[in-house]
């Protein structure tokens, strides 16, 4: 069952020629055929091109010149432009969009030899926490098919959890990599803002969006990260900082590392006791491994959701103005004149959640309301950044839950956007502050649903996040458990 392999296991077998890239890719495609009808992780499958890439990978291995991820089958969230492969962003308005170029992340993955298996389902324009806002299909949680996989990178997380790829790429604007990773029991990294190029990433909120990997274990996640991270002249917000070797940093234990536990996160409303217990146990585990745990304060935490749900929709309303039915995407053919074409195209092309956020954002940016909403939220953002700065004076890492509850049932929050927004309470601060955060499995609920631990760190300190996450993974076995999906 090669589809069950991790990336680092598969890499060894490929290099030892105990398995071919074609066999590995075929095993993954077979697995997709067996289970994806029930899970619904993929929007588009790239069977023919994947097998072609796999054949190329085998030739490259045979020639003795493999790249770091040669022949590894990977899934990509349908928000990253793939040249010649339909990229929908989960929206009707991009239903038939075939990008004429590749995102930088895709170029880097392909240069590293990756086999792209398909494009995964997501909430429309990455706006959602459950994948229920996809215009195309429901994605179900492989651990319990009556529940959501999380979102917005729910398809990527479900595909990794159900062994329908060896690793995946997602994007995270307020928790969209970490929260589905947590709900599906996999490892998800939201890197520092600017660490990974956004060129070719369909824009949602440009000051918050960041691409990140999802994988079956910390090691695999770091392997993917090493490939996609680094400066890109095509993204003017891309950071020039060199990318360290994350794997090298793994074996060093946690002696002398100070970990902060934010006091405000303990008293959070709506916290499931099983989640707080699992996180408390994780804190104890870190202490046993040599870390010193201290309580820290992030006093503006209660206002993070409010600030976020002004800033993100404001940026979205501006970014999504480009969908006008002219250059690409859907155009309503019924329209009689230009104004009608804009209105009908956008009204029929965007789903209700996207329209809601465009209207909220347009309102928050409009004359007379700008100061009360957008400017105020941007000031609160400054205070949240200051909170983190202060906290990182007394600790290197922060520990928290990823989500206040395990995966919720499909349909539970879909009609109540505000409740849906509140489930992002632990993750969206990292986007506002631009800091990295990783989600690692740290337990299961009584019903057998995965629970995730979030480790956050200072800007560009991903290596330390990986080290702590890897040490934690070595001390636990949650990441080894598989969903009961045959």
């Amino acid at each position: 069952m090669p589809h069950r392999l991790t990336i680092h296991q598969a890499r060894r077998l490929l290099l030892e020629k105990k398995i071919s890239a074609v066999e590995l890719t075929q095993a993954v495609l077979d697995r997709i055929r067996d289970v994806d009808e029930r899970v619904g992780a993929y929007i588009t499958l790239c069977e023919a091109s994947a097998l072609e890439q796999a054949r190329k990978a085998d030739r490259r291995i045979a020639s003795g010149d493999p790249s770091p991820l040669t022949g590894i089958p990977v899934a990509v969230k349908d928000i990253l432009c793939t040249r010649g492969i339909r990229t929908t962003c989960g929206s009707r308005i991009l239903e038939n969009f075939i990008p004429p170029y590749d995102a930088t992340v895709i170029q880097r993955l392909e240069a590293a030899g990756v086999v792209i298996v398909g494009k995964t389902n997501m909430d429309e324009f990455a706006m959602g926490s459950s994948n229920e806002y996809s215009a195309f299909k429901l994605t179900r949680n492989p651990w319990d098919l009556s529940r959501i996989p999380g979102g917005s990178s729910g398809g990527s997380a479900a595909a990794v959890a159900a062994d329908m790829c060896l690793g995946a790429i997602g994007s995270d604007t307020g928790g969209s990599v970490r929260q589905p990773a947590s709900h599906c029991g996999v490892v998800g990294m939201k890197p520092t803002y600017g660490r990974v190029s956004r060129f070719g990433l369909v824009a949602f909120a440009s000051s918050l969006d960041q691409v990140g990997p999802l994988a079956k274990c910390v090691h695999d996640n770091a392997l993917l990260m090493k490939v996609i991270a680094g400066h890109d002249p095509k993204d003017s917000t891309s950071a020039p900082e060199p990318v360290p070797d994350y794997i090298q940093a793994f074996g060093k234990g946690l002696d002398g590392v100070t970990i902060g536990v934010p006091a405000e996160y303990r008293s959070m409303e709506g916290m499931d006791p099983e989640v707080s217990d699992a996180v408390s146990t994780a804190v104890e585990t870190m202490e046993r491994m040599g870390a010193r745990c201290v309580e820290v304060s992030l006093p503006h935490t209660p206002y993070a959701v409010a600030a976020y749900y002004v800033i993100a929709p404001s940026e979205a309303s501006s970014n999504l103005a480009r969908y006008d039915g002219v250059k690409y995407g859907f155009r309503d053919p019924e329209a009689a004149d230009l104004a009608g074409m804009y209105r009908q195209t956008r009204s029929k092309g965007f789903g209700p959640e996207v329209q809601r956020r465009i209207i909220i954002g347009t309102y928050c940016l409009s004359a007379g309301y700008y100061d009360a909403y957008y400017r105020k939220a941007s000031q609160v953002r400054s205070l949240i950044i200051r909170d983190f700065k202060n906290a990182f004076e007394s600790c290197r890492l922060l520990l928290s839950p990823v989500a206040p509850t395990p995966a919720f049932p499909i349909g539970e929050k879909v009609e109540d956007p505000l409740t849906m927004y509140l489930s992002d309470v632990f993750t969206l601060s990292a986007n506002l502050a631009g800091i990295p955060g990783i989600s690692v499995p740290c337990g299961f609920s009584g019903q057998g649903l995965p629970i995730g631990l979030q480790i956050m760190g200072n800007h560009f300190d991903e290596a330390m996040l990986y080290r702590a996450a890897h040490q934690f993974e070595q001390a636990t076995d949650y990441h080894l458990k598989k969903p009961p999906l045959q």
Binding site: Y303, I360, Q379
Partner: protein, 96 residues
């Protein structure tokens, strides 16, 4: 009430979105929920705090002004809902 039904309609108009009566009713309630929640920000004294629009202090990313690879016209037009060989085609703007 943060925003009236009429204001939601006006803002939707600015964003070039059409809402029918049912959608407008639902949207007005949901948006008021969100804006009502967002009002919590007013508890925070932000006095002279400088607003942040970007989490990292970025400086301009300059490069040499050199010709680089670009999309040719055919590929740039390849996704247009309506195009001829040279341009995007839109409904007539100025009436004859």
């Amino acid at each position: 009430m943060n925003i009236t039904r009429k204001e939601v309609l006006q803002v939707a108009d600015l964003a070039r979105l059409d809402l029918d009566d049912a959608a407008l009713d639902k949207m007005s309630i949901q948006i008021n929920d969100v804006l009502g929640y967002v009002d919590q920000m007013n508890e925070v004294d932000t006095g002279e705090v400088t607003p942040t629009s970007h989490a990292l202090s970025l400086t301009n990313a300059f490069r040499e002004d050199e010709k680089t690879e670009h999309l040719d016209r055919k590929r740039a037009l390849s996704n247009a809902p309506h195009a001829d060989d040279e341009t995007f085609v839109v409904p007539r703007v100025i009436k004859a």
